[in-house]
């Protein structure tokens, strides 16, 4: 790759936080490049229906919302590329963002890389991925028409996945390690009202088993210690996310779970490096709060660039 121009801002991550930061920075007339290694739109893009993002009284598909955010930012000059970040180096007043497509030189960086799906890390999970273990109910529900499936998790995304699966599967067992759901009230109401969804409380999955494909899950009741097996042809894992900051260890201050620590202006301890969205310590992990973080981070970038001029 040829020598990178010096960008005013390089944004790592193309979810609501990064795209909103890109919108603000581009409108501020700063040269802005956003890199995304996977899906533009981020996690929200894989959500079937978003009904808690204000401005859409009938809800909106996550894919469309992500596309709208990207179009809006690009309209004001945001440049985007597909690349994966692998590090940030400080060189005088500049930052070098190491990526799969070469080094990028920037005056400021906004880290908005969000998080990755948490895996169960139990025997059989890797082996049966694509053979009954899935991380996307909207993608794969149709393959499980009239079959028994399980969803692991108790948050908003787990319940949304279970409700979607209930339209296809004969039975959906929702396996949750606690005795109450973390999901928001309205989703709980819908899950309890759906006869095909059955809840298995206080339960963790110990292994995924089968011959060529998933046939059963071995589960453990964490209160009684009782072990049992449930027969399913599919298991949808939705147990949350972990921040995508492995490549930032030793560069930015992180909390014990790996989230980036910032102040209320989204500034990290390193001048000119901001963080926004789910990757940040104490993030509410909502599309709308991520977007808010992105705007705040871009305004901090603007202040930084103006003051350091």
């Amino acid at each position: 790759m040829t020598q990178s121009p010096v960008y005013d801002v390089v944004i790592i991550g193309g979810g609501p936080a990064g795209l909103t930061a890109g919108l603000y920075a581009s409108r501020g007339r700063f040269s802005t490049l956003l890199i995304e290694r996977g899906l533009f739109g981020g996690q929200i893009a894989t959500t079937e229906h978003v009904e808690n993002y204000p401005g859409f009284p009938n809800g909106i598909s996550g894919m469309e919302l992500g596309q709208f955010m990207m179009e809006q930012a690009e309209k004001f000059g945001l440049k985007t590329i597909s690349a994966e970040a692998s590090g940030i180096e400080l060189q005088g007043g500049l930052k070098i963002v190491k990526t799969s497509e070469g080094d990028l030189v920037a005056r400021t960086v906004i880290v908005a890389g969000g998080s990755q799906r948490q895996k169960m890390a139990v025997p059989g999970e890797e082996e049966f991925t694509g053979k009954g273990v899935s991380y996307c109910a909207t993608c794969d529900a149709a393959f499980f028409q009239d079959q028994a499936v399980a969803v692991v998790g108790g948050g908003d995304s787990a319940i949304s996945e279970a409700l979607h699966l209930a339209k296809f599967a004969s039975k959906v067992t929702l396996i949750h390690r606690r005795d109450e759901l973390r999901a928001t009230g309205i989703l709980q109401e819908r899950a309890f009202a759906e006869p095909r969804i059955q809840l298995l409380w206080d339960t963790t999955v110990e292994s995924v088993e089968g011959k060529k494909f998933v046939e059963k899950l071995r589960v453990n009741n964490v209160k009684t210690g009782t072990k049992s097996a449930i027969e399913v042809s599919g298991v949808f894992v939705s147990i949350g996310f972990r921040p995508d900051t492995d490549y930032l260890r030793g560069i930015l201050p992180l909390d014990s779970a790996g989230h980036i620590i910032t102040n209320e202006r989204m500034e990290t301890d390193i001048p000119g490096i901001m963080a926004a969205g789910d990757i940040r310590h104490n993030s509410a992990k909502q599309a709308i709060t991520a977007a808010g973080d992105g705007a705040t981070a871009a305004l901090s970038v603007e202040r930084f660039l103006t003051e350091s001029r």
Partner: protein, 108 residues
């Protein structure tokens, strides 16, 4: 211009199993967001591997036989065929670099 060609269950044998070069088959559906995101990545790779690897895509909703035959239970799935046999099986969205490594390995 060599973008992935849309094929159906009937054409599968001729266009994949009896093809002279390796073929990447993209199993996808309209409701699958990661599939839609993978499409431009494959468009780009189809261009890069033009003349070496042929790229096709099959809508699993319209063509249930082929995904059932190859036990596809998750999309997007990419199957890479060489001499009529699946030699590589890639589940889920993957960054371009990872796909490139995989395809290069198939070409050996």
């Amino acid at each position: 211009m060599s973008k992935p060609t849309a094929i159906n269950d009937v054409e599968f044998e001729q266009k994949v199993l009896k093809a002279g070069s390796p073929v990447v088959v993209d199993f996808w559906a309209t409701w699958c967001q990661p599939c839609k995101m993978l499409a431009p990545v494959l468009d780009d790779l189809a261009e890069k591997y033009s003349g070496k690897i042929h790229f096709v895509k099959i809508d699993v909703d319209q063509n249930p036989k082929t995904p059932a035959k190859y036990n596809i239970m998750s999309i997007p799935t990419l199957l890479v065929f060489k001499n009529g046999q699946p030699v590589s099986h890639i589940v889920g969205f993957r960054p371009k670099e990872e796909l490139r490594r995989n395809f290069d390995a198939v070409l050996g």
